[in-house]
């Protein structure tokens, strides 16, 4: 038997204190299998040990919330006996090591989280952050990640409705791949990850267990040193979307036709059989006994340690009612999947593992999660960037049209159909709003309802001010969803940060969480699920704080959804919200001036709430021809997008105290551009007044040029065709220049 040495403990990423705690819980030394289990369960990835104290600040309940955080996915009631289950998760570290498989298995994992709840996955989004296209390996990473998401999502037949992609040097050494999925479930058929009923069989289904991904959860909880990415490759899992498709269809058939035959089910994600068995027993307050000799394996000679820590994909653990076991197995066998009884539920409160007739581990179930270490790590005071800022004193540009063209052609703003055109975004025939709009919209068959989804965060705002950045992420996502006519329901999140053991990183984390929590509270959108990804650092350099928010909204009547493009000649254009003299952290400064410079724009959450309510109300009353949220690139870019998408010009006059650059390109929050038939003007104006949202009549739709005046001075006058050609072609051109194509 392997002796547990100090070195071995360290190799398992456990601190001295943590090991002491293990000895206390067990009252003895662990063996190697047990040490591996503790290591996985207490990894940052599985235990949330550095983030837990802060995540408590999130509002997680609400009248529509059926399931909040803590399960495989959050569940929110949408009426008609239906609910949506959704979650976002990161696959950053694996994707940096092996982009195709890393991204593919990220998709596979989030889908399992959703269909485990009993939901049929309906739509995926992704939030991608890459470094500069000319950074080492970056073209390989961009190509591999997009192919990986496409390869998995397309094959399994779940539409990927877009998301967001940002390029910045801050991600040169750590890319981010955040994937979100939403599924539809009947409220009377929601399944949970609980091992209930002593004596019931524990069933293993899906792919066989291999040696891939052993210690993936631990890996995801470490920083990289240069070149280390290569050595870590064996810890990345390999995806098989076809098997997952079979697993998904088999599970959904089981849920639908044998609803009472199963008492709990959980996907084997990070830390595989370890986390699924311990969490299922822990949640139910029960225990389980597993015979690891019975686990279907891919190769001979696998040890109990490897079997428990493998992260082979496309596997599930479920608990069936003893008297219905045969019916359950029959469904999996119909789909030609392995389905094996590997153990049973007990009431011992312990997880006992057998292998070839002997006990190889015997651990209490609940303490592994209840008594997992929790750290309130030290935080440095946050240093907000202080003025005066250069942009406040430097002369304004002379050619604003040229600035607009440069911003439209920058990788962050340019149209990204090169990415989403590789994703099947139409399968399942629910896609009402395709990628490229403010938010994705799907209809719910058999009802009048629609669901809007948007993933969002501006990491540059978070760099300048993580609190405001977090709050703005929620507000902007809510605004985007409201622009389609939906009302925010709830959010999921994926909090990507650097090393939490660094006080300045922990300070960013705490502030961003506070910002998200405050915004969720004001906007009435609780956090129902989420994920934390820390240690996104290479060679000691942390990524920009990137708390991605996945907002879900509900349209009562999907026929009334509103789109971004300007529609008809003669329609009037108005700006809702207030434009301040703000240019900090803007796309303008990054693209035109080449600087990351603060401060983060202000955020007024109450004003955001009023705007969201106004946008949804305008849509419900059928008053709008188009609506578009103002964000990256400011009003000029928002107006250009409405015009380019609509293939029509616009003449706009902007007013206000802000300098011309800020009028055009400033990224003040809480704004939207709307257009409407002239006959609706007074109704729109009255409603805005009634809801307390500033309304500025700005211009009209028509012609073939985009003309923007500022305080009576002509600033921009460009042919829409030419802008659109630039905007549509720029991203492909950038990839070609970087040799991706």
């Amino acid at each position: 038997m392997t002796a547990i040495t100090e070195e071995l403990v360290r190799e398992h990423n456990l601190s001295d204190d943590e090991y002491k705690r293990i000895l206390e819980i067990l009252g003895r030394e662990p063996n190697l299998v047990e040490l591996g289990i503790f290591s996985a369960m207490w990894s940052e990835h599985c235990s949330y040990k550095s983030s837990r104290v802060h995540l408590k600040k999130f509002p997680t309940t609400g009248p529509r919330v059926i399931q909040g955080p803590g399960e495989n996915a959050g569940v929110v009631d949408i009426g008609d006996g239906l609910a949506v289950a959704f979650k976002m998760e990161s696959h950053n570290h694996p994707s940096f090591i092996e982009p195709y498989q890393g991204a593919a298995t990220g998709v596979g994992g989030i889908l399992r989280d959703v269909f485990t709840m009993g939901a049929r996955p309906m739509a995926s989004l992704n939030s991608l952050r890459f470094g500069r296209l000319d950074a080492p390996r970056m073209k390989h990473l961009v190509d591999g990640v997009v192919r990986g998401i496409a390869g998995y999502g397309n094959c399994i037949g779940i539409p990927t409705l877009g998301g967001e992609t940002t390029f910045h040097k801050g991600y040169d050494g750590n890319i981010l791949v955040n994937v979100m999925n939403l599924g539809l479930v009947r409220t009377d058929r929601i399944f949970l990850g609980r091992a209930e009923g002593a004596g019931n069989p524990v069933v293993y289904v899906g792919s066989k267990t291999g040696r891939d991904g052993i210690h993936g959860a631990t890996m995801a909880s470490e920083e990289f040193a240069a070149d280390e990415a290569k050595q870590k490759r064996p810890t990345v899992q390999v995806g098989d979307p076809f098997t997952e498709k079979l697993l998904m269809e088999a599970c959904l058939e089981l849920f639908e036709t044998k609803t009472d035959a199963i008492t709990g089910i959980q996907d084997m994600g990070a830390a595989g059989l370890t986390s699924s068995s311990f969490e299922m027993a822990g949640r139910a307050g029960s225990g389980v006994e597993l015979d690891l000799s019975k686990v279907p394996v891919r190769e001979t000679g696998m040890t109990p340690y490897e079997i428990m820590l493998s992260e082979s994909q496309e596997r599930m653990l479920l608990v069936a009612r003893r008297d219905r076991l045969d019916e359950v197995l029959a469904i999996f066998h119909k789909w030609e999947l392995d389905a094996v009884e590997i153990g049973r539920v007990t009431d011992s409160g312990r997880v006992v593992l057998f292998f070839e007739g002997r006990i190889v581990a015997d651990l209490p179930a609940a303490p592994l999660s209840d008594r997992a270490p929790v750290y309130d790590r030290p935080r440095a005071p946050l240093a907000s960037p202080e003025g005066p800022f250069l942009w406040q004193t430097e002369p304004e540009p002379t050619e604003f049209g040229k600035c607009l063209r440069r911003i439209l052609a920058s990788p962050n703003v340019a149209e990204k159909s090169w990415i989403w055109g590789q994703y099947d975004h139409m399968v399942q025939t629910n896609t009402v709003e395709r990628p490229g709009g403010d938010a994705a919209v799907i209809r719910v068959k058999g009802t009048k309802k629609g669901i809007a989804m948007k993933s969002d965060v501006n990491p540059f705002f978070c760099m300048a001010d993580p609190y405001r950045g977090g709050a703005i992420a929620v507000a902007e996502a809510a605004r985007s969803v409201a622009c389609t006519g939906a009302r925010p329901l709830a959010i999921t999140d994926c909090l990507n940060f650097g090393n939490p053991e660094k006080p300045e990183v922990m300070a960013q984390f705490e502030a961003a969480v506070r910002g998200i929590a405050d915004a969720c509270r004001v906007l009435g959108a609780p956090v129902v699920s989420g994920n934390v990804s820390l240690y996104n650092e290479t060679d000691g350099r942390a990524i920009p704080p990137t708390p991605t928010v996945g907002m879900v909204g509900l349209l009562q009547d999907v026929d009334k959804h509103v789109r971004m493009p300007f529609r008809a000649n003669g329609d009037l254009i108005a700006v809702l919200g207030e434009t301040r003299d703000e240019l900090g952290a803007s796309e303008f400064l990054r693209v035109v001036r080449g600087r990351d410079e603060g401060p983060c724009p202000e955020v007024d959450l109450e004003a955001e709430k009023r705007l969201v309510d106004l946008l949804a109300t305008l849509a419900e009353k059928g008053l709008l021809a188009s609506a578009h949220d103002v964000s990256d690139g400011g009003l000029a870019v928002a107006l250009a997008e409405c015009a380019m998408q609509g293939g029509v010009g616009a003449t706009v006059a902007l007013d206000g105290a802000a300098r011309s650059t800020a009028l055009l390109f400033g990224e003040s929050t809480g704004r939207a551009v709307v257009s409407f038939a002239p006959g609706n003007e007074s109704a729109v104006r009255d409603l805005a007044k009634q809801k307390g949202v500033p309304f500025s009549a700005a211009g009209w739709v028509g012609g073939d040029r985009l003309r923007i005046d500022g305080r009576g001075k002509p600033l921009v006058d460009e042919p829409v065709d030419a802008l659109a050609g630039l905007w549509r072609g720029a991203f492909r051109k950038a990839l070609e220049a970087a040799d991706v194509l």
């Binding site: 192919r147 496409a150 390869g151 397309n154 094959c155 399994i156 037949g157 098989d240 979307p241 076809f242 098997t243 498709k245 079979l246 789909w335 030609e336 159909s417 989403w420 055109g421 590789q422 994703y423 099947d424 975004h425 139409m426 399968v427 399942q428 025939t429 896609t431 009402v432 395709r434 209809r443 068959k445 999907v558 026929d559």
Partner: protein, 231 residues
């Protein structure tokens, strides 16, 4: 009037076709599991899109061995209307019910977007409601849609009017720029000799409702209904 929709392991658009047949057209519709050989009295058989057997090896290469394909071949030989959409088209090619083969798109990437097609043959049971020469907009979503066949087979297809759809620009011009995958002679869909078996890469099932932004595809299903009604 009953649609039978074949479900292979890995079919993804079976429910989409079912939705069109049942919910939109009000016809009877039933799924046919690939292990079954009984077509359940279907009047029309649809092989839906997806990734049968994960498209492992080659799209359609494994699915053609499924037991149901013998029954589909028999049904087709008796003149029963069979429509293969996307992956279903690939399966029909592999099964030899239609001539030719698919290669990976010339761009070497999966392509999901709208395309335009010119209707070249309005005499099949799936295209009778489209005027010949008209332009139809439909979405595609595939990795292997680059249709190919030996020149004599292509010549024969053209001679016999068995090219059903060709990729074109919105004005109906068949150009290389309008060809999304490199398919030989811009071929998007073809028919068998008798004209009752049709395969195409674009998805009529994805454009059969105005809520989804396009309802031009439903005419393919309606054509089948009217073809059977007049038979």
């Amino acid at each position: 009037m009953k649609f039978g929709i074949v479900v292979f392991p890995g079919s993804n658009c079976d429910e989409d076709c079912h939705h069109v047949a049942k919910d939109l057209l009000g016809c009877e519709a039933d799924y046919i599991w690939h292990h079954d050989t009984d077509l359940k009295g279907a009047d029309v058989v649809i092989l839906p899109g997806g990734f049968a057997y994960g498209d492992y090896l080659r799209a359609g290469a494994l699915a053609r061995f499924s037991p149901v394909m013998e029954s589909v071949a028999k049904f087709a030989a008796q003149g029963g209307p069979v429509l293969g959409i996307c992956n279903g088209f690939q399966v029909l090619l592999e099964a030899g019910l239609l001539p030719g083969a698919m290669q990976i798109n010339r761009g070497l990437r999966y392509v999901c977007r709208d395309v335009h097609m010119r209707v070249e043959n309005d005499a099949t049971p799936f295209t009778s409601l489209y005027p010949k020469g008209s332009v139809v907009k439909m979405p595609i979503g595939h990795m292997e849609g680059n249709y190919t066949a030996p020149p004599d087979v292509l010549d024969r297809l053209e001679r016999e009017g068995r090219v059903v759809f060709r990729y074109c620009d919105p004005e109906g011009r068949v150009t290389d720029e309008a060809n999304p995958n490199g398919a030989a002679r811009g071929i998007a869909g073809i028919a068998n000799e008798a004209g009752n078996v049709v395969g195409l890469m674009p998805h009529p099932d994805r454009c059969s409702e105005s809520l989804l932004g396009n309802d031009q595809g439903i005419k393919m299903f309606q054509s089948a209904v009217s073809a059977l009604a007049t038979r």
